[in-house]
Symmetry: C2
Subunit: 349 residues, 2 copies
Amino acid sequence: MGEEGVAMSLDDRKLDVLRAIVQDYVATQEPVGSKALVERHHLRVSPATIRNDMAVLEDEGYIRQPHTSAGRVPTDRGYRLFVDKLSRIKPLTPAERRAIERFLVGAVDLDDVVHRTVRLLAQLTRQVAVVQFPSLSRSSVRHLELVPVSTTRIMLVMIADTGRVEQRLVELPGPTPEADVLRLRTAVNEKLGGQRLADTPRLVQDLVDETEPALRPTMAALASVLLETLVERTEERIALAGTANLTRGGILDFQGSLRPILEALEEEVVLLKLIGSAEPDPATTRVLIGDENEIEHLRATSVVSTGYGPGSTVVGGMGVLGPTRMDYPGTIATVSAVARYVGEILAQN
Amino acid sequence: MGEEGVAMSLDDRKLDVLRAIVQDYVATQEPVGSKALVERHHLRVSPATIRNDMAVLEDEGYIRQPHTSAGRVPTDRGYRLFVDKLSRIKPLTPAERRAIERFLVGAVDLDDVVHRTVRLLAQLTRQVAVVQFPSLSRSSVRHLELVPVSTTRIMLVMIADTGRVEQRLVELPGPTPEADVLRLRTAVNEKLGGQRLADTPRLVQDLVDETEPALRPTMAALASVLLETLVERTEERIALAGTANLTRGGILDFQGSLRPILEALEEEVVLLKLIGSAEPDPATTRVLIGDENEIEHLRATSVVSTGYGPGSTVVGGMGVLGPTRMDYPGTIATVSAVARYVGEILAQN
DNA sequence: ACTGGCACTCACAAACGCCGAGTGCCAGCG
DNA sequence: CGCTGGCACTCGGCGTTTGTGAGTGCCAGT
């Protein structure tokens, strides 16, 4: 009707009311009523006035009543408005800062960093945490090693600059003396060393073409495994922690059951999509609220995620998953801070 | 009194009754009464007789009543007797055999084998499955590689015969030309190649002593990292799957909540202890029932576990965790079969 | 535009009573 | 002596009822 944009139809006080509702509901986990609102927040009006405001907010779809004559609860849309416009990122407490700093002492290798990170995230946010291992597709080749296993088999070991290591067995077309293996090794390293994995497919082709004819079949066998390792099987690894937090606040937090959630959490693909850094600006911290996320069974959850990597690059994603009713400002702050720290650690290698 | 051994006090029929109670309870998840028992099993006596038998079984601690005037439920002790004496291992169904065979196609490397295995176990048993990665301490060194990263840093990569790969960064005491690194590499491989990891500590010491004096400080730096990698940090990796199965049959399955269970499952140490192959005969399939296991929070669960490895060796453990009320014969059969299969696959490398 | 007042709604908890499965005991029977 | 049928008893679970209070929407008044 006479209203222009949806947001325009809400004056400042209504926004204050929404903010207060979100905060109270997140804190108490109970529907919040008009009377309680005026008491806990110093809104300078009467409950009746608030009720009118709430009626409007409900019309606009920002809040809803679980049942007649109960207080109001924010909708996904309400949380979205809250996150976008009504909240400031909460600074970390000193205790949190200390915890983040402490977690890295003694991290001995990449696996260790990732595992510690995911536990840290879970502990700080008291939610389920997910950390993607540095993605192969985003790293470069540091070194390739060929280890003879028998005369017709070698083991291919690839070391990425992120510290990730992949190994694969290669069946050679025939017995190959060790000297030849060394020649292959040199050739492969000269061609691929330092290259980004994304660029390797065509280089591998060159590699075969440039090999001396005698060794070409052997190199071809090696090349096919290389391709598989470097590209096709860009298997992403993932670390998960804090699933026990799903049971906090009664199982009823997630209406129905947490069964589907646990199932979804075991699907790597699903997790990758959630914290996927295939986003416009991967370094930004993103928030997906309720049914904004695409996984059917996680419609009752929100995800806060971000990319991380040494310096300003992004080699993987990390994030946190919890009930839509969660402390967004605090969680966003934590996830961002942890990602920044991990980036610094990675930069040190 | 007049009774000799506890087991002696139970005649055959009482044992039949216990077996029937376990079977029915596992199937229905409800306390089983005397009348239902005589109907479902062709015990040729009347309910009243069964009641007397049940009274005895209860005195002996094999079953109990959840409350007066309810049916009986097996106790941990009852399950134990059932597993030890009253059940035969259930042969696998053809469908199960097929599933096990199918799961391995396309397993591309060790990680993949382990991940597929754990999922397979979870799916077949419909419980939580745990698989330990082949333990470093039980494997031998296949190859050690030194990759120069800068003039004062090299990356140490260890490849075990099980296919596991560990890498670690070594800070050298000073700039070291590549030729020296090669010499170190040769020396290290000659000394440690093919050796069991358990034997390496003293060998590493020899290694330093035998090094030409000029390279000795460098070798010392390398040796300390080697020791750490090979011995001290015998970090065991573990794969987990099927946590969603914990929610089957209502959460009430695990009285209280499954919170502590989820928490325990995130502790690697706990899991290792559970499926630990530090048992008398690690290749045997073991069953821990209820409070027989030592982890406080898992007192309501049972664990079926076994060791696995190529041939008749054991390089790690795997197992399944579920409510004490579980299908022991079937689960034992499945776990054993899967372990055997995985052993065969590992033997192929 | 805000407020106080008021009638109304409805989830939730406590109280109640019923039902029936299951038991223990006992006297009788082969 | 072991088994059986009969019987009185127990008690958890379930559906119904009732009471209570938080919270609402509406309206008349300032």
